[in-house]
Symmetry: C2
Subunit: 274 residues, 2 copies
Amino acid sequence: MTADKPIGVFDSGIGGLTVARQLRRALPHEDLVYLGDTARVPYGTKSPATVIRFAREDTQFLLRQGVKAVVVACNTASAWALPALEQGFQLPVFGVILPGVRAALRRTRAGRIGVIGTTATIRSQAYSRGLLSRSDTVSVLAKACPLLVPLVEEGWMRHPVTLAVLREYLRPLRRRRIDTLILGCTHYPLLKPALRAVLGPGVALVDSAESCARYVRERLAHLGLLSARRRSGALHSFVTDEPERFAERARQFLGGVVEPARKVELAPWTGGVR
Amino acid sequence: MTADKPIGVFDSGIGGLTVARQLRRALPHEDLVYLGDTARVPYGTKSPATVIRFAREDTQFLLRQGVKAVVVACNTASAWALPALEQGFQLPVFGVILPGVRAALRRTRAGRIGVIGTTATIRSQAYSRGLLSRSDTVSVLAKACPLLVPLVEEGWMRHPVTLAVLREYLRPLRRRRIDTLILGCTHYPLLKPALRAVLGPGVALVDSAESCARYVRERLAHLGLLSARRRSGALHSFVTDEPERFAERARQFLGGVVEPARKVELAPWTGGVR
């Protein structure tokens, strides 16, 4: 039965586990198949054409694992590849951008919304266009923050250097007095305390992982694709680089024990698989 | 004639142009074919098995371009893949580690040598083993510095944040009073002024790009593979991601005008090409 099949989740690497974590909270009975393309991480510094190619290969792999839907946990892939995936594959594909946009529009009071993300995500203007197409009254200030993922990967979540980097990146957003900030990258939820310290309590932080999980639940319910089972869902993980490092670091992003990932090589997209 | 064929150079991305730059200085009449694997950059965070696979594909591509020798500009690939490349391909393959080791041993007075590089390069212990196997009297302190490449990519070569990061990374090396520091990554030559500011004038900086170029000239001469032509050599570049960003940024690393790169897709290593 289709509804009992797992949900597929892919990301450029390990960061998408923050989305898997929220999916497990929102949909505790669903099985998840996670793919982290750790051999080619990051996507956020790459070109649109390359991100689309990688996203197709990721989706094709998940489809071959028998998933009922695909969640694009990577903001950069969501920003560039979602139309190509919706067109190329006949199953529901959900990204993180639209849910983040909707959550930000619900949260903002003054209508001044900031967006931070990778260079490629910000260059896509996906969040800005999504916000401005749904509201006539908001203003959006987007800022690429390429150092934040490396700082999280280094484990410097509350390091003075990270605070200094955030102060520099967020200066134009603070000057414009944003009241809402979209965390447009899987790694950024781990920076919430540092963001809070720099921005103060007056700015709402929109975690796109959280809003994505709620959105996926809503859409799967609408499509009649929620599993009726009542046991706890399982999480099976695959990576394209060696799995050792994944195991070491997955716990931090998932917030719990992760079973070992299996290594896979991704096939080129054939264009024929649906 | 084999000696008139170009020299192949590959790197995980754009940083290897610092090696191409030194090769052009040391060997101005040689043609160069440069491959930057910009779709899969960086290598420095990936596992040995994946780095070896990528390096084989890079070398195979260069071989098909008719090169007479291959220079592995990437420190991480030099650290992990050199034996596999020497074994798998019948042409001279030169890395950056051995030249850096020899240069550091010539430069050091007190025998206290520091090494900085990516996580994968430092984990390989390639520099440490190279130094300790050639000298009984040196002590080596190696330190992984994963934030330095992102800082250079962000253009923050002299930014206060970069100085703060360097002070933190280099603290154990300064405490041990190193007198020589090997810059074990293609991006680090761009940080020389910042390194100088943090370390002071008493520490010799060994630029592995410079020492590599001298080493390649010496080895090619020994093998009778130096071109006898006296015109200026050409540089042809290939990348695996879209070439636009390469063009924007190549000048900074090469220190001069770069002709546009062509995009290529790398074939899986067949194991059969020699």
